[in-house]
């Protein structure tokens, strides 16, 4: 089955991982800008990172027939440095017309501080000004519930935000309902120990239905599994869910959501065959 990973950090993965993803059926992925595992010293360091996301990774992915898309921002962790954050936000418009850019992300909160909330709001201004889609990181562990509610407060207070163009990621049992009920898209991250397992993700799909719900691996430099989506596909099959439902969650939903971005020039691998046979 073809699938799309809507949240994975390929700058931290090897070329062998691209090959494995391709063999498992991954045909496209989206890579939000995130924390590198250390705080960067200057805005110029982010300019280079944005070049990596818009120039280097698409080429690396294309070698394995994977289409690479990306999102730009300064992540919530480094957003604690307000001065640096404003410098980075100022250089993002230079990259918004790059052909693989889908929007602003992954913005969000980390420890739910005032500085993080300030920079989150400034990213929202940027997204509104340039009519960009938004991808949101919600905090980990004990901070997730509070941070998710704070993020929803900020989004819902702003009538300029089109909720159908916003993806709130890393939802779990206690946050998914809030996100979906407010009309946003929700992403479940299949991540060892600190986030969701394929089994629990499958439970959430059964409890809330497949509308506006996606799954991702968030594969990065930490303990993570870039092939987590095939694990979810297998779990759904083992429970007896129909292929059409699985395909909606791991493929069609991503296409529906990303298609609202100008930068999503996705070509389905079977597009020509479908056109020829119809």
């Amino acid at each position: 089955m073809y699938y799309i990973d809507p949240h994975i950090h390929m700058v931290s993965r090897t070329t062998d991982d691209y090959e494995t993803l391709a063999k498992m059926g991954c045909v496209a992925l989206s890579e939000p800008a995130f924390w590198a595992g250390f705080d960067r010293g200057s805005a110029e360091s982010f300019r280079d990172y944005f070049r990596q996301l818009t120039e280097v990774e698409p080429k690396r992915a294309a070698q394995y027939g994977i289409q690479h898309f990306t999102w730009l921002c300064i992540n919530a962790k480094e957003a604690e440095n307000v001065t640096l954050s404003r410098e980075v936000i100022a250089l993002i418009p230079d990259f918004l017309d790059c052909p693989n850019v889908l929007g602003i992300g992954e913005i969000g909160l980390n420890k739910n501080t005032k500085n993080e909330a300030t920079i989150f709001a400034e990213h929202l201004e940027l997204a509104v000004k340039y009519e960009q889609q938004i991808l949101i990181h919600t905090p980990h562990l004990e901070d997730k519930y509070q941070g998710t509610r704070m993020i929803l407060d900020m989004l819902c207070d702003d009538s300029r935000i089109d909720r159908s163009r916003v993806l709130v990621d890393h939802v779990e049992e206690h946050t998914v309902r809030h996100v979906l009920e407010e009309g946003f898209w929700a992403g479940m991250t299949l991540y060892p120990v600190t986030k969701c397992t394929p089994q629990r993700a499958c439970d959430i799909i059964e409890m809330y239905g497949p509308e506006r719900l996606m799954a991702n691996s968030a594969g990065d430099w930490g303990p993570s599994k870039p092939t987590a989506i095939p694990d979810l596909i297998l779990e759904m099959r083992r429970r007896g869910h129909p292929e059409s439902l699985i395909r909606k969650v791991v493929y069609e939903n991503a296409i529906e959501f990303f298609s609202q971005s100008q930068g999503f020039n996705f070509k389905a691998p079977d597009a020509n065959e479908t056109a020829a046979s119809s």
Binding site: N112, K114, A117, T118, A121, L141, E142, D143, K144, Y145, Q146, R149, M150, D153, M154, D157, D158, E172, E173, H174, R200, D203, I205, E206, M207, G209, P210, R238, R239, G240, H241
Partner: protein, 88 residues
């Protein structure tokens, strides 16, 4: 959306997994006891005991309740505390 398995099928599939996870927990608690020192006053341990009580209950949203148990509180006046204006 229903789960396309009967409860009997779920139990057949997951019985050994549930058993293994309970044993993991039991061994963790035994290990805590065997180790030197005491964590009796540690608030994390009280949380763990509260979570075990939720686990042993029959309510339908145990995963969600346990998530909330391990979560910091949300207060809707957080913006006033941060002195941040809402956009409305």
């Amino acid at each position: 959306m229903p789960i396309p398995m009967t409860s009997n099928q779920v139990l057949n599939r997951e019985f050994f997994e549930i058993r293994a996870k309970i044993l993991q927990l039991a061994a963790s608690f035994d290990r805590l006891n065997r180790a030197d020192g005491s964590v009796d006053g540690d608030p994390r341990l009280s949380l763990v005991h509260e979570a075990l009580a939720v686990l042993a209950s029959t309510q339908e949203d145990r995963a969600e309740q346990i998530q909330l148990l391990f979560s910091r509180q949300y207060e809707d006046d957080w913006r006033e505390k941060f002195d941040l204006a809402s956009t409305e």
